[in-house]
Amino acid sequence: MLTLLAATPLVGALLVTLLPRGDAAAQRRAKYVAFAVSIVALGLSLGLLAGYDVESGGYQFTVQEDWIGQLGAHYALGVNGIGLTLILLTSILTPIVILASFNDVLPGRRSANSYFAWMLVLEGLALGVFAATDVFLFYVLFEATLVPIYFLIGSYGGEGRQRAAVKFFIYNLLGGLLMLASVVGLYVVSRDAGEPSYLLSDLMALDIDGTTEKLLFVGFFAAFAIKAPLWPLHTWLPDAAKSATPGTSVLMVSVIDKVGTFGMIRWCLEIFPNASEWASPVVMVLAVISIVYGALAAIGSDDIRRLIAYTSVSHFGFIILGIFAFTTTSTAGSVLYMFNHGLSTAALFLVTGVMIARRGSASIGAFGGVQKIAPVLSGVLLVAGLSSLSLPGLAPFVSEFMVLAGTFTRSIPLATIATLGIVLAALYILIMYQRTMTGPLQPQSAVVTDLDAREVGALAPTLVLIIGLGFFPQPLLDVINPAADRVVERVGVGDPPPETGVAPPSDDDHEGGH
Amino acid sequence: MTTFWIVAPLIVLASLGLLFARKAVHAALGLAVVMIGLAVLYAVQDAPFLFAVQIIVYTGAIMMLFLFVVMLVGVDSGVSLRETLSGQKVAAAVVGIGFGLLLVLGVAQLSLGPVTGLAEANQHGNVYGLAELMFGPFVLAFQFTAALLVTAVLGAMVLAHRERLTPRSSQAELAAQRLRDYAESGKHPGNPPTPGVFARHNAVDSPALLPDGSPAPGSVPDSLVDRGQVLDVTTDDVDDVHRQIGRRGEGEDEK
């Protein structure tokens, strides 16, 4: 099932590549095929969700085949609640991105076939990454995702794309290679303990010597921190986002960067619980710095795409903070945050992408009063923006609050500083909105026409999900909670009990009204 | 031992010639001295076969090859004496001295224990001993050395041998060509043959021969004609000349 899911986009990519190229009709056909493939993948992952037994939790749909026996590498897939959430995110966002990217203007006379093929490749690899339960397989796919993004930025992006692509690649590769060192070390550790194996389950059973564990942890964490991205390793992101097409940015920030935070939970916490605990003070401080720094830098940005990138730095700070607070609430909140951030950032990138494409400039100053001529666009931007600033009632709020509340039980000062992020978030979103959408219509932004039906169609699902999950996040949380529980249990810090006990809210209270 | 102390300084001095001799020839001679000196030391060290080989192969063949090339490229071929790389000499000297000291002080001072001597190994004779090794443990090395030698030959061929692509034109052909050119474009056919052209001798008294083999008039100084000292040219001679230098020319003539 998982194999089929991951293979679908990859096969689709091949198909799209092989389709005839050239004239507009051929390009259109390629787009439709790509979209159809991504819809099929979405269907499959919904099937996955339907088939997932929430009650029993744990890893399901597991597949395990020997791959490279000598290395202890397996072709092992499986999803738990966390992986499932991110798989859903990936397969929801891809069709949206493809649909939204239909009319992207590609530089030179590059063909749409490869553009969409790369997107599908990226989707396939991302699905694989989230499903991998073998470190080696994960690593391979993790690194392999660099290639499609590299091409998506470098080949199809805007100004400065080559530089940004190289920077992206080298930066992330550096992280990946540090992780490689740890992956290698893990092999040695596991081999010395008996048969080499990269299976998550086998690695969890290992008793790793303290220093070694820290060493290995650092390698993994470095890769994920760059990917996530965590301050001060984030500087590749604004450039990459600035030069990429909106669709690429969405896939990169909303999906692939999640691999970083996902990896922290799946690998750092699960395999190196002691080292994770050892590192958590530093990581949490860095995360808080990310939150505030990213928000401030976003406020100071003039380029809309850089701004969104910085907001993501800030949001990723929250996610990482939640993960390393080691409470069920914050961990589950972080996972939910990954999903929500994916949605809201996707909406932001896509809607600003439309603006930027029509205006031909990404500078905030190049807009003004757009609301007057493009009310729908402006409304979508506002909702997306509000979700980014975690307005209650929109999806990210719940997750952000869970993260903060969980963190608060761990460290009051850090949680307090992190909370500053919500004020700053209001600033960066509203300043951007104010300067682009409100005020008298600037003549130069009169070219920005309102969203057309296709664009609305692409964006509507994200908005519906953002609002829906704002009020009804519990179904998703039900999927996430058991996995989050297990992770926290694994780290072994445990949820701190309330300082002052209250009579535990009895069931009567909950169902009182009904 | 005495031999060593006599020969060794000579060797070192000669080898220094490689460093300081201005001319390649001098350096080569220095090297030759070194080699001969070494040959002596081989002999002293119970290596009569090597002694011989050193003299024959090294000094005899290899050094000759060197000298030959030195002559080929010109004894004085201009390698300027000005050092082009700054600091190269100093660096080389420093590193060299360091390296030499390291080896000599670090390695050569060690105690190797008593010298076993080659009496036993040479009991059936030095050459036999060597042969035993060469056709024993080192037979493969010995055999594959052939590859080395073939390679060397092949290399020399590739780099130095110039396969003729076109047959060499005979003088007759050249002359005919000249006249054809004259007929067609009026290009001056050049001076008439000087003495000795197409003749068996280069001496002034042998007249130049015309393409048909007859003596070219005026190719011998008049004074000699007057004295009757002109070499007689017979048809045989012409045939000889044809045979030697212009077979095809002759064929064409016949046509």
């Binding site: 001060p232 069920t328 609430t329 009632g393 919500i422 004020v423 104010q434 926290v488 909950h510 | 190269q88």
Partner: protein, 622 residues
């Protein structure tokens, strides 16, 4: 019946959703849908209220848990609504005043092409506000809290083409967010401390926590309240918020939303009961705002800003009362309700005036409008009497009670409150005089006229409420009604009987009115504001430099920091990362030069390598 409390929220919410997603064809009747939705809510609220009346005093709190909002680990949040005496009052106030304002807006916004959206936002506001007051969990309250903030943002900035409106909207939101910081932290603290954010549970168990926790909670909640209720130091947004259409100012920035802070404090009575420090802080905040608002109200020529200053001041009273603890909670709510009536009335009246004056807000351009707009004048006059505390009018009772309680708590606090009453009388008199009395100072092109029926009827209804609001105090009904929720304790015995205090208050008010009248009513008013004024006036006009202080202390440093950081990120951090790369590149170029092309250099390299390698290996033995 009480299972359907959620319908209260659902009606306006559905209205908002409908109007926002429905296309242009709904432009014609969209406002009606919204009004009906609001009215339905009101009617349903009334029904529920009556149902509540029919219950015993101890049985008047109904919790309606809709669904689990989210639950993870120890954190469990129910989407629960609580209908109890306190929220019931608010429901009626909100839906009642709200519906009237909907009606009023039909006329007021008639010519606005985006009227449908305006009504959608109004409905959104009603829904959010109801969520706020009905919430059974602090987090749900926070949902409403932010919801009203959003509605406020949208409505202040409704005329987005005006940069000032857009800026004001943003400012309101951001300043509120600062308050939310406190709220959010309070919520986290609750979770960490009690493992729940249920209002009921937190307030029940806060007593058993340490005093520090209660104080911290109280102060954090107060910060939130300050933001929403425009209390010092987060007051600055309210005056700018007058950029919004006047009905908005009436509904949100006078009657309902801005009082949410008071509601929060009262709702968290358990917390404040447990912390003396927190209560004192509330009192101080209320007192300061009371005076600051009044001061500003005296200096403004913009009718809406003058009213806004007044609003701040009046909410200061409420906060003050709430800060008195069980002595004052009920009076805070009482004043809140009466204020809701008369201030909404006056704002709508101001709107009516503006409507007649081509949206001119400068009172110096008014004068003698009493004849041109008789209904407006009459209703406004009744509101005026209510706010200055003219005996018998609702404001008289509610303000009197607060001053009384304040005096009972602390003489100086009481005196300051008393002073505030005088100043209120002064600036309201000034406002009345400048607007309705004196010589007409209109511009020539302006032809003041009375507003249409659809606008005046709400005015009349609200005027009536302003007059009659005091009835709630009859037989201490309001304190008894609220007692199950907030408890009530009579304040300390005063040195003088209450009637004496009432007289003193009335006297002070009279002085205020007199000063106001003789300054502005009896004398001609310049139609342009005098520029040579005392520093005090100048300070008042500049909102006591609140914006300037914010600007210097917060805004500019933040923006500078933001720009600096952004610059640092590109030129510092990123340049460092890139710089490492380019340094490597330079290093590479340098190393590349080692490749000279001279074979002897290479040989030297080999020789050196040999030497070093040998040396290194042999060093092991030496």
């Amino acid at each position: 019946m009480f299972d359907y409390v959620w319908l209260l929220v659902a009606f306006p919410a559905a209205g908002a959703a409908l109007l926002l997603t429905w296309g242009k064809e709904s432009d014609r009747f969209g406002h009606l849908i919204a009004t009906v939705a609001s009215a339905l809510s009101f009617v349903w609220g009334l029904v529920l209220f009556i149902g509540l009346l029919g219950r015993d005093g101890d049985d008047r709190s109904i919790t309606d848990s809709l669904f689990t909002w989210f639950s993870s680990g120890a954190f469990h949040v129910e989407m629960s609504l609580v209908f109890d005496p306190l929220s019931a009052l608010f429901v009626l106030l909100i839906t009642g005043v709200g519906t009237l304002i909907h009606v009023y807006s039909i006329g007021y916004m008639e010519h606005d092409e985006r009227r449908r959206r305006f009504f959608a936002f109004l409905n959104l506001f009603i829904a959010a506000m109801l969520t706020l007051v009905l919430a059974g969990d602090y987090l749900v309250l926070f949902l409403g809290w932010e919801g009203v903030g959003l509605a406020s943002y949208l409505l202040i900035g409704f005329w987005q083409h005006k940069p000032s409106a857009a800026a004001a909207a943003k400012k309101a939101f951001v300043v509120n967010r600062v308050g939310d910081l406190g709220m959010a932290l309070a919520l986290m603290l609750m979770f960490a401390q009690f493992g729940t954010t249920s209002i009921q549970l937190v307030n029940d168990s806060v007593g058993s926590a340490s005093a520090g926790v209660a104080t911290a909670l109280g102060l954090l909640l107060l910060l939130g309240a300050c933001g929403k209720s425009a209390q010092v130091p987060l007051q600055s947004w309210l005056l700018d918020a007058m950029e919004g259409p006047t009905p908005v100012s009436a509904l949100i920035h006078a009657a309902t939303m801005v009082t949410a802070g008071v509601y929060l404090v009262v709702r968290s009575s358990g917390v404040y009961d447990a912390s003396e420090v927190a209560r004192t802080a509330v009192v101080v905040v209320g007192l300061v705002t009371l005076l600051v608002g009044a001061y500003i109200g005296c200096a403004k020529d913009d009718i809406k800003k003058a009213l806004a200053g007044s609003t701040m001041s009046q909410i200061g009273y409420m906060m003050l009362a709430a800060g008195l603890g069980p002595y004052g909670y009920a009076f805070a709510i009482f004043h809140l309700i009466t204020h809701g009536f008369f201030k909404a009335n006056m704002f709508l009246g101001a709107g009516s005036v503006m409507h007649g004056m081509n949206d001119d807000v400068d009172m110096r351009h008014y004068g003698a409008l009493r004849k041109a707009m008789p209904v407006t004048f009459a209703t406004f006059g009744l509101g005026y009497l209510a706010i200055i505390g003219f005996p018998g009018f609702s404001g008289f009772f509610s303000k009197d009670k607060i001053i009384e309680a304040a005096l009972g708590e602390n003489l100086w606090v009481g005196l300051a409150a008393l002073l505030g009453a005088g100043v209120t009388a002064f600036y309201m008199t000034r406002l009345m005089a400048m607007t309705f009395f004196g010589e007409k100072r209109w511009r020539d092109e302006v032809h003041p006229h009375e507003s249409p029926r659809v606008m005046t009827i709400p005015l009349i209804v609200l005027a009536a409420a302003s007059v009659l609001g005091g009835l709630l105090l009859l037989g201490d009904w309001i304190t008894d009604w609220l007692e199950p929720v907030v408890g009530h304790t009579e304040h300390h015995e005063l040195a003088v009987p209450p009637i004496v205090i009432s007289l003193i208050v009335t006297a002070v008010v009279a002085v205020g009115v007199a000063v106001g009248w003789f300054t502005y009513g009896a004398r001609a008013v310049d139609d342009t504001a005098p520029t040579k004024v005392s520093p005090f006036t100048r300070a008042g006009r500049a909102d006591l430099y609140g914006d300037a202080i914010n600007d210097v202390v917060v805004v500019r440093p933040t923006m500078a920091l933001a720009r600096g950081l952004e610059w640092f990120d590109r030129r510092g951090l990123d340049a460092f990362a890139v710089g490492v790369g380019s340094r490597l590149g330079e290093l590479a170029q340098g190393l590349r030069r080692s490749q000279t092309g001279y074979v002897r250099t290479y040989a030297l390299g080999i020789f050196i390598g040999a030497l070093v390698l040998t040396l290194a290996l042999m060093a092991v033995t030496f």
